[in-house]
Symmetry: C2
Subunit: 427 residues, 2 copies
C-alpha cells in the first residue's frame, strides 16, 4: 500500500503500556497523526501478570490487542515493531526494520529485570515482565511437582518442592501467596507419591522489610498475613549466588529447584540513546514538564522516567504512567494551540498489594486497610481498570472460580523444558 502524505504533526509513541496507551487515547481529538510502536500486538495489564504465572488467569484475560483498542480512533496507526535507537538531532527513531520521523516523541518503553550484574542468574531465576515469562514460570512451577512425584530420593524430591522468591516488592509478595495456595490447596490431592503441602515457599528481601514503598506498619501487616498463609519471610537477606540447585546467602545454602527473580528493575536500554545521563537504575531524568533537557519535543514517561516530586523520585507504578501519559497529551495539545507546557504533578491515589486468598494491604491517603476488606478493594479496582468488557467478565468469573473451588483454570505445561534434568528411573 502506498502510504499517503499527511500534513498533521506526527506524534510517535514508543511503547503500548499504561503510559503510551493513555497518551495516545488522550490525543483523540488533537489535530495530530500518531504512530504507536510496540513489539507486542497487545497492551498488557501488568498488575495481574503474576496471576498468569500462577495459572489463575489466561494470557488473553489480561492482554488486549492494541489495534482493537484504537479501532475507532482513526488518528492512531499502531505498528508492530521494535525501536532500537532515537536520533534526537535528526528527530528520527530507528526501528529494527525501518525508521520513523517525528515532530513529537513520547518514549514509554518501561523497564526490565536487573540481576545486579549477575546475568548468569537469569537462567536459574527467571523474572516476570511479559506473557512469555509468565507462561515459562507457570510451566516450570507445575513441572517441579511432576519431577518431585517421580523422584525416589526424598531429599531430592523436597528440592523440587522448595520455592524461593527473591524480592519482597508487590510481585514477590503476590507470587509467594499464590504459590503457597497452589501447594496447599489446588494440588494437594493430585499426586500419589508426594504431598504437595510439604512445599516450602521462601520470600527473600534485601532490606529490613517487605513492601518498601508502603508504611512500616503496613509492611508488618503484610508479613503477618504471609506467615499466616505459610510463607517463610526473610528480610535483610541478600542473595550472593544462584545455581541449578538453590541459592546462597553468604555461607548459607537454601536448596531449591525453583527460584523466581522479583528483585531488580532496570529501565529499558532505549534511554541511553537520548543523550542525557541516566540515574543508577538506568532511568532518564526528566524536567518538570516530562521532557528532556534541550529537547522540548521529546517526552519520557512511565518506568523509564525518573521524575522528582517533593524531593523524591515517584515510584514505577501504573498510576504514575497513566497520569504522565495524560499530561503529555495535554501539553502537546497546548503547544499546538500556541500555549506553553504545564508542569506535571503526580496525584497519589493510594497503593495496594494482594497477599493471597482474602488477604491484601492498601493505603489510601491516611486510610490503612488490610485483610479481607483490602482484598475486596483490590479486586474492585483491578476489575475496574481492566480494559474491555469481555475481559472484566472473564476475570471476575475466573476469580470467583478460584475462590470457591481452589481450582486454577490454566494448569498447562507447554513449551520446552529448559531445566530438564535426568530423573531417576521408576518401575
Amino acid at each position: 500500500m502506498e502510504h499517503k502524505i499527511d500534513a498533521r504533526p506526527h506524534v510517535v509513541i514508543l511503547g503500548g503500556g499504561f503510559g503510551g496507551m493513555n497518551a495516545a487515547s488522550s490525543l483523540r481529538h488533537a489535530p495530530v497523526r500518531i504512530t504507536l510502536v510496540d513489539k507486542h500486538n497487545h497492551h498488557l495489564f501488568q498488575p495481574l501478570l503474576y496471576q498468569v504465572a500462577t495459572a489463575a488467569l489466561n494470557p488473553s484475560d489480561i492482554a488486549y490487542p492494541i489495534r482493537r483498542i484504537f479501532r475507532n480512533q482513526r488518528n492512531v496507526t499502531p505498528i508492530l515493531a521494535e525501536a532500537k535507537q532515537v536520533l534526537p538531532e535528526a528527530k528520527k527513531v530507528i526501528l529494527v526494520d525501518g525508521e520513523l520521523s517525528y515532530d513529537f516523541l513520547i518514549v514509554a518503553t518501561g523497564a526490565t529485570h536487573s540481576y545486579f550484574g549477575h546475568d548468569e542468574w537469569q537462567r536459574y531465576a527467571p523474572g516476570l515482565k511479559n506473557i512469555e515469562d509468565a507462561r515459562a514460570i507457570r510451566s516450570r512451577m507445575l513441572r517441579a511437582f511432576e519431577y518431585a512425584e517421580r523422584e525416589t530420593d526424598p531429599a531430592k524430591a523436597q528440592d523440587w518442592l522448595n520455592f524461593v522468591i527473591v524480592g519482597g516488592g508487590p510481585t514477590g509478595v503476590e507470587l509467594a501467596g499464590a504459590f503457597i495456595e497452589i501447594a496447599r490447596h489446588t494440588l494437594s490431592e493430585d499426586f500419589r507419591h508426594i504431598d504437595p503441602r510439604k512445599a516450602r515457599v521462601v520470600l527473600l528481601e534485601g532490606t529490613d522489610r517487605i513492601l518498601q514503598t508502603f508504611s512500616p506498619a503496613t509492611s508488618k501487616k503484610a508479613e503477618e498475613q504471609l506467615r499466616a498463609l505459610g510463607v517463610e519471610v526473610r528480610t535483610k537477606t541478600r542473595v550472593t549466588g544462584i545455581d541449578g540447585e538453590g541459592i546462597w546467602v553468604g555461607q548459607d545454602r537454601i536448596r531449591a529447584r525453583n527460584v523466581i527473580w522479583a528483585a531488580g528493575v532496570a529501565a529499558s536500554p532505549l534511554g541511553r540513546s537520548l543523550g542525557v545521563s541516566l540515574d543508577k537504575a538506568g532511568r532518564v531524568p526528566v524536567l518538570p514538564d516530562l521532557t528532556i533537557s534541550g529537547h522540548p519535543e521529546i517526552f519520557v514517561i512511565g518506568d523509564l522516567a525518573a521524575f522528582t516530586q517533593d524531593g523524591e523520585t515517584v515510584p514505577g507504578v501504573a498510576p504514575v504512567a497513566i497520569q504522565e501519559g495524560k499530561q503529555v497529551a495535554q501539553n502537546i495539545r497546548r503547544r499546538l494551540d500556541g500555549e506553553s507546557y504545564k508542569p506535571f504533578r503526580y496525584f497519589d491515589k493510594g497503593m495496594m498489594a494482594t497477599i493471597g486468598r482474602a488477604a491484601a494491604v492498601a493505603e489510601i491517603g491516611k486510610l490503612r486497610l488490610s485483610g479481607f476488606i483490602a482484598w475486596m478493594a483490590w479486586l474492585f479496582i483491578h476489575i475496574l481498570y481492566l480494559i474491555g468488557f469481555r475481559n472484566r467478565l472473564i476475570v471476575l468469573f475466573d476469580w470467583a472460580w478460584v475462590y470457591f473451588t481452589y481450582e486454577r483454570g490454566a494448569r498447562l505445561i507447554t513449551g520446552d523444558d529448559e531445566a530438564q534434568e535426568s530423573v531417576e528411573k521408576i518401575s
Copy 2:
C-alpha cells in the same frame, strides 16, 4: 519417595488422549494399578484445537490437567514422561528417562502430521496437533496482517493476505471458515493501510471432494457453504512444492505467505517397536479384540490402530478411540475374572464438521443436516463432551461472544517469529 510394592496387575497406558483416558476411567473399579504416561500434563480436546489456532478459545479452555481428572480415582498414577520404545518380550516400556514393567499395555499415542516425504515443507506449512502448534499458527496468522500493514508494495502486501490450507478434511474446512471470518469481520476495521477483507483463503484438496469421510451429497453442501463464506475451494489439486512465498501445483503458482498443513496423518512412531508390520499410514493392524498378534497383553487403540470392520478401516476420530478405550478396559476386567476377550465393534453415532459461523454439516444415521441446525447440533455435542464444568461454561461464553460481537478473545501474538522477513522501511 520410596515407591511401595503393589501386588495388583500393572496396567500401563501410553497416551492421555480420548483412547487412553477412557481406558483408564473405565478401569475405575478394577483390581489393577494403572500408570498413565503422557508427555503433556493435560488431556487435549482435539476437536476444538482449531479454535485456539483461530483465536476464538484459550488453550486452557480445551486442555484439562490429567491429574485433576484422576484426582479421586486412586488406582491411577499419572506421570509426565515420554515413551520411546516397547519391549514386548520383556514386557517393558522404555521412557526417555526411565522404564516401566507392565502386565497389560495399552498403546494410545495417536498420530502426527505426514508431509508425504517432504519434511522440508514443515517449516513453511505448519500442522496442527497440539497447543504449541495452535499458538504458533495463531501468532503467524495475526503477524501476517501486521506485515501486510507495513508493506508498501501492494503485491507483496497481498502475499501476506493470502492463506492456503492444504487438505480438505474437517480441520482444513474448519480453519478455512474461521480465517475468512477473521479477515472479513474480526479485523476488518483494525488496520489503516490495508483492507483485511481483501484476504484470500484457498482450500486445496487432492481428491475429488472435501470431507471425504462424509457422503458426496454432504461434501457438496459443505463446499457450497464454504464458497458462500468466500473461501476458494479447489479439489483434485495436489501440492507439488511449498516454499516461503507460496505453493506449487505442478506448473501453477499460488503466492501466499501463510500455508497451513491439514493433509497427511502418520501414526506415532512408537508402533514400530511392537514387532508387527504396519500399514501405509504407519498404523498398527490389530486383531478383533484390539490386541496385536502373539501378544494378548498388548492393546493398540485410537489413531495408532488400524481396526478393520466390515472390510473397511474405521476412521481416526474421537468416538472410535473412546469406544475402543472402554472396550479394552472391559476386556482387561474380563481376563482378570477368568473370562475371554470380547471382540470390538465400532458403533457409528454419526459425523459432523463445522464450516463457519452458523454453518456446519452432520450425518447421523440416515439423517443429513446442514446449515444452522447442523451448527447448533455441533455446538451442543462439543460442549457436552468437553471435560469439566468450568471449561463448558467458559467455552459457551466465548462462543456466544464471538457469535454476537465477531470479536475473538485470544488475539495474541507471542513467541518468536520464525518466519520473520525484513519488511521495507516506512516513514
